[in-house]
Amino acid sequence: MRTALVLLFLLALAAVPGSIIPQRDIDAIAVSRWQDSHPTLTPIYESLGLFSVYDSVWFSAIYILLMVSLVGCILPRTRIYWRGMRARPPKAPRNLSRLPESRSFTVDEEPAVVLDRAREVFRRRRYRVDAAGSEVAAERGYLREAGNLLFHVSLLVVLVGFALGSLFGYTGGVIVVKGQGFSNSLSQYDDFSPGALFGADDLEPFSFTVDDFRVEFLRSGQQAGMPTDFSADVTYTETPEDEPQTHKLAVNHPLTMDGGSVFLVGHGYAPLVTVRDGEGNLAYKGPAVFLPQDESFASFGVIKVPDALPEQLGFEGLFLPTYGFTMETGPYSRFPDALDPVMSLLPYRGDLGLDSGEPQSVYELEKDDLEVMKRADGRDFRLDIALGQTKQLPGGAGSITFDGVERWVKLQVSDSPGKGIALGGVLLAIAGLLASLFIRPRRAWVRVRQEGGRTLVELAGLDRSSGGDLAEEIDELETRIRHHAPPQKEIP
């Protein structure tokens, strides 16, 4: 018990750092940001596993020790309980008045009659009863310990369910532009974290297309700009042979299939652009995914044009769904909805570095061999393009047209096997908890003897758990044993 208490405190303490220091599993970007600003602490924290507390050796050690202590507690207690459950109520102690609650009173009836009635009263109140000679021994509340054991066993069940999920489950994220599709294979994911025992071949072959996406924002009031509703229509097939079905995907309304569920977790803008190169050829046409930077959906992104001639082109900058400008802030977004979209871009020329074979992020330019285009006065050439506009690049490098705005959705695909087991475990744990908290194990005894023509009844009780209202129960027993008819008042 004391070990369990210490381990529980250690577990609570050990869980704290994970809520303060950014965690890799939750927000990898926050982790790298934190690491950039704390170069000295980073190696120390890294070696302590503080960026991944809940997978760390020491956190695992604490809960494994807790589980060992749990098993070490459950086994002997089950044995004791097994014996105790079949035992008869213990004999009455010699001196009943020494017990925490005791009464003695006299009645006119014969001792045998009183004993019979006491037996009956105990039985009705669901005591296990033993009578011997002039005594009745009674005990109840055997299920308390059963509830207690159930609670502790259920915790193990929860842990098994949790372990199944983290070993055989997976979570992946993917950005899909409206109108495009996704099929469940490793190469399609932007990020993917499989459980330790999950193989890429285990991915179920479902696929879907994002047909439509809608979002509403509050237009006025203090909370203006808050999204009130967003949802996407998808057409999906569970296996390639199936008939396509449709589903409305929204927050709190995932698409659940065998082997994975799809959740709508975010959204953003993908401006449609056309780029012509210096030779006048169409070099790029299509959506470019920009990532929102704040709640106004000012979004950052790049456009890579490897097919441009004579030199490759690249663009980096902001997409502003509702353009605003002040001298202090420069261009900014006034509202998250696409009311007056403008792109503010810096054009680059040179070598995008795509041929080197090294993987690149689609959200960043590799600028080693790129050169930002300059204005005649030597300052950076910044392009502010409103929807529908075409702007020429300096030096005859080409042109860029802002054709339209498309939206993308961020989808999370995940499977956590064992969640049913974990849920069942917690529900059983609560059932056990209720039994162990509210069933009161209790012993009571009645002894009678003749005294001066009347019958002296001694009644006493003992609570085997704290917090009971033993006195009331003994009062109630007394009333019932004294009087033949049970009184009106019922105590639950």
């Binding site: 369990a4 869980a15 704290v16 909370q223 929204a250 959740f263 974990a422 006195a471």
Partner: protein, 369 residues
């Protein structure tokens, strides 16, 4: 009424509720102030012996004292009102005239003061009921004030108002059963402080829910969390008073008058604290470890992701589990357990205030910038 009318009414109701809570608080303070000059030992006659070790082993004496002694802590006493230490004091005041010779006030003065204590106490409770009704009306109209109507817990202002109501409601529900009037001063004080902080610092106008909260699990998850918070709040107050009272009992020169002397015996406080916690813990388990994960599975695609809010809910759960363990562990009973209960409530408050305002997790619904 339009949603805007409801929203305006809600703001008024919450403001009035704060005023009435303040009056209730003052009334309870007056109750205790009058108690300063009235010896609480008169209550001993009603079955609250301060020296619990006195030789009351004789069966007759025990059974005589049972009604009163248990009235402080146990359910449905002989009659609902009798058995409260205050009524006991009022009844006993006359007969305790002989004892009162030691005190500066005469028996008649004493009876008058005891009457005043009782009167202020009752006024305090009545005002608390009124304030709670206003508080409840404020909550309901807040939900109707949003367009479309919704449950009134979608941002931190509303969580605070709902949480304070949870504490008051648990107190009022248990008031009779456990004769909790001695808690009134703390419960009303708590409500006043929370409502004022909510109105001054956390207020945002009524508006629609953010999409992530738009689920019926919001009702199940938050109602369970509010009930558990209410129980843990009342439990924490009882545990804190237990610590004060048990210290006073250990000192031989314990004052015979004043607030602490008029509290129920430490054992009774301990039992009430345990029962309230035992009631709250399974509900908390349900809120944090059943309803929360199921909802998280629907909303975020994972039932447990070590989000800061989840971590602290788990910490709170672990600490209260430790409290229940401590109650069964020799050497940790009583004082140790009471301290653990207070730590548990501190983690709960930190989860609410700290994580909501300073955290960056998925549960950032404070509605504040």
């Amino acid at each position: 009424m339009t949603p805007a009318d409801f929203a305006a009414f809600s703001n008024n109701a919450i403001a009035f509720a704060s005023v009435v809570y303040t009056l209730a608080l003052l009334s309870h303070i007056a109750e205790w102030a009058f108690g300063r000059s009235v010896p609480a030992s008169t209550e001993a006659a009603a079955g609250e012996p301060l020296a619990a070790t006195a030789s009351t082993e004789e069966p007759a004496a025990v059974s005589a004292s049972v009604g009163g002694a248990m009235g402080g802590g146990a359910s449905v006493g002989a009659s609902a009102a009798a058995g409260s230490t205050y009524d006991g004091a009022a009844d006993a005041a006359g007969s305790a005239g002989a004892d009162a010779a030691a005190s500066p006030a005469g028996p008649a003065d004493l009876a008058a003061r005891t009457h005043k204590i009782e009167q202020f106490g009752r006024i305090g409770v009545s005002l608390t009921v009124l304030a709670a009704a206003l508080h409840f009306a404020g909550l309901v109209t807040r939900g109707l004030g949003a367009d479309p109507a919704r449950v009134p817990w979608g941002n931190m202002y509303e969580f605070s108002v709902a949480g304070a109501f949870g504490v008051t409601a648990i107190y009022l529900v248990l008031l009779r059963k456990y004769s909790l009037r001695w808690l009134g001063v703390f419960v009303t004080g708590f409500s006043v402080v929370v409502l004022m902080l909510a109105v001054l610092l956390l207020y945002v106008p009524a508006g629609p829910l953010v999409p992530a909260l738009d689920s019926y699990w919001l009702v199940i998850h938050v109602v369970a969390a509010v009930i558990a918070t209410g129980a843990f709040g009342v439990g924490a107050m009882a545990s804190a008073l237990y610590l004060v009272k048990s210290r006073a009992e250990q000192r031989s020169d314990a004052a015979a008058t004043g607030y602490v002397a008029r509290l129920p015996r430490a054992a009774v406080l301990d039992r009430i604290a345990y029962r309230v916690h035992a009631f709250g813990f399974p509900i908390w388990t349900f809120a944090a470890l059943v309803a929360g994960p199921i909802w998280a599975q629907y909303a975020w695609g994972r039932y447990w992701g070590w989000d800061p809010k989840e971590v602290w809910a788990f910490i709170t759960w672990v600490v209260y589990a430790a409290y229940l363990h401590a109650r069964a562990t020799a050497g940790w009973k009583g004082k140790g357990a009471a301290i653990i209960a207070l730590v548990g409530f501190a983690t709960l408050l930190f989860n609410f205030v700290g994580i909501n305002l300073f955290g960056s997790g998925l549960h950032s619904y404070s509605g504040l910038d």
